[in-house]
């Protein structure tokens, strides 16, 4: 009985996935037929760019997982707190933008180090569930502490980037999304190279694999942890700038972090290339659903479509498209 059920549920998941892909393709197809195809292409391009901006947030998450084996549920809050600090510098102290970003950078470095030293280092060797709970607690703490210190009034970060779209052939491209996507690709390529080619990157992978064995190799595990959390903080600053510019700065910004989960589940928790592909898929699904399905169902489907895909993915390949097979289910 058990194996039959297993087989059925696996098959069911495949059917679901096929249905979902058919649905997405049909979206595009119907779009092409009933609207004009330019609209479909425009949506797709916008989706890809937005998706890459999700990748920019997800990369911090993957970085932490790859190097410390911890799952950071507070990545969205990192983005929020970085944006709040920069917006605070702009609004309250009237600092110029470059200085505000510099302050934000310094803040995130200290933030990452403090976090590692006082929250995560004491948890080295503890059960992964304990660490996950700690990051969830951290997420709520930040969501409360941010507005408490910097005020809850929504703010914005105005980057010196034009709002009007760049027209390129048939496409209308939003400059901030272009920039965000470009920065995202640049950083992802950089991290990919770091983990594959540099000695420290390889050592970091070793640390993620086994703290104990790494220590026996003379690797200072704590220092690598600090480097990982600081880097995740700094990457969150980039995400905070890009997203803060687009959707404004308040606690809602932290919700962008929730998109990290479909991205990394699709791509694989520990894969840099997976972050890119996962981000693009999530962005595409969102944009096409928003364009072709939402008008008929009264809206709102774009927000949960990526999660539907995520759940199906969990049933078929819980370790993602590019992830290592050896991943504990949690």
């Amino acid at each position: 009985m058990q194996p039959i059920l297993k087989f059925l549920s696996a098959k069911f998941a495949w059917i679901l996935l096929a249905a979902f892909i058919a649905f997405i393709v049909a979206e595009g197809g119907v779009g092409v037929l009933i609207k004009d195809w330019r609209f479909a292409v425009e949506l797709a391009v916008d989706g890809v760019l937005t998706g890459l901006m999700y990748s920019l947030i997800a990369v911090g998450f993957v970085l932490i997982y790859k190097s410390t084996d911890a799952i950071n549920f507070a990545q969205g809050e990192f983005v929020m707190i970085a944006a709040i600090v920069v917006a605070g510098c702009l609004d309250w102290f009237g600092l110029p933008l470059w200085l505000s970003i510099l302050v934000g950078f310094g803040f995130m470095v200290v933030f990452g180090m403090t976090l590692e030293r006082f929250v995560l280092r004491p948890m080295i060797g503890m059960n992964i569930v304990a660490i996950i709970m700690a990051t969830i607690g951290l997420a709520f703490f930040l969501r409360g502490a941010g507005p408490l210190i910097f005020g809850a009034a929504p703010s914005t970060i105005n980057l010196p980037i034009p709002d009007s779209p760049i027209v390129w052939g048939l496409l209308y491209l939003t400059p901030i999304k272009l920039l965000g996507a470009a920065v995202s690709i640049l950083f992802l390529a950089g991290f990919g190279w770091f983990f594959l080619k540099t000695r420290k990157g390889v050592a970091m992978r070793a640390v993620a694999d086994s703290h104990q064995v790494s220590m026996a190799m003379g690797i200072n595990v704590e220092r690598y942890f600090a480097v990982a959390w600081v880097t995740a903080g700094v990457v969150a600053l980039l995400g905070g700038l890009a997203w803060g510019n687009m959707i404004g700065v308040d606690t809602q910004l932290a919700l962008v972090g929730l998109k990290v989960f479909p991205v990394v589940i699709l791509g694989g928790l520990d894969s840099i290339i997976g972050v890119i592909v996962g981000g693009i898929v999530v962005g595409l699904v969102e944009a096409l659903t928003a364009g072709f399905v939402d008008p008929y169902v009264g809206g709102g489907m774009k927000d949960f479509a990526p999660y539907v895909l995520m759940v199906i993915m969990l049933m078929i390949r819980p370790y993602g498209i590019f992830g290592r097979r050896l991943i504990e289910r949690i």
Binding site: D209, Q212, M217
Partner: protein, 261 residues
Amino acid sequence: MAEPNGHDSILSVRGVSKNFGGVRANNDVSIEVPRGKIFAIIGPNGAGKTSLLNMISGFYVPDAGEIAFEGKSINGLKPNEIAEHGIGRTFQNIALFRGMNVLQNMMLGRHVLMKTGVLSSFVYWGKTQREEVAHREKVEELIDFLRLNDLRKAPTGELAYGLQKRVELGRALAAEPELLLLDEPMAGMNQEEKEDMVRYVLDIAEQRGTTIVLIEHDMGVVMDISDRIAVLDQGEKIADGTPDEVRANPRVIEAYLGADH
């Protein structure tokens, strides 16, 4: 005090105790490991062998007593600091890094000897690259020594058990340790794999002058290759000496070899 004079000991464990909750893992254990020799720690399961090894390599901090390496106390040092002092180790279960090949695993073994900092390692050329080449040469020597030539790029997960153990030995050797701790290097091996491993252990001690402390259950192997043997039982040391002395010791026969004799 059981230690014969005139021996230069590289590692001294003096009156070390360790408790986990109410469980006494080690009680007042003292050993002197002579330089350049093969020193075996034996005893029934749960005798406290691995916990003693873990204290030497810094994973456990002793509750009492002192551990000195090259005459200097290493009590309270972290495992990575102890590795930097020149104590290498292998683990009881295979502990190779997954998703990496043989060469990458062995290069990681040289981590303690690599001096470039985090930032300069981002720069792949110049000094870093020259250093990389030098390290690679040393690793190639080891690959020759352990006859892993055809397996440089093989993912470690796909290797046979005995080969994985050999790669792990190579990774520990890559750090060029003065003292090598081997936790059951031959456990679970077939006869041929065991013979290979025995030969490597002997060669390491003879050719490289590395001192070896090993935990091993195969009495034949232990009696054959060890210069000295310490016997633990229920956390305490009950005997210490040459294989012949240990074999003749009535307490050892009673506690450990009992049924056979």
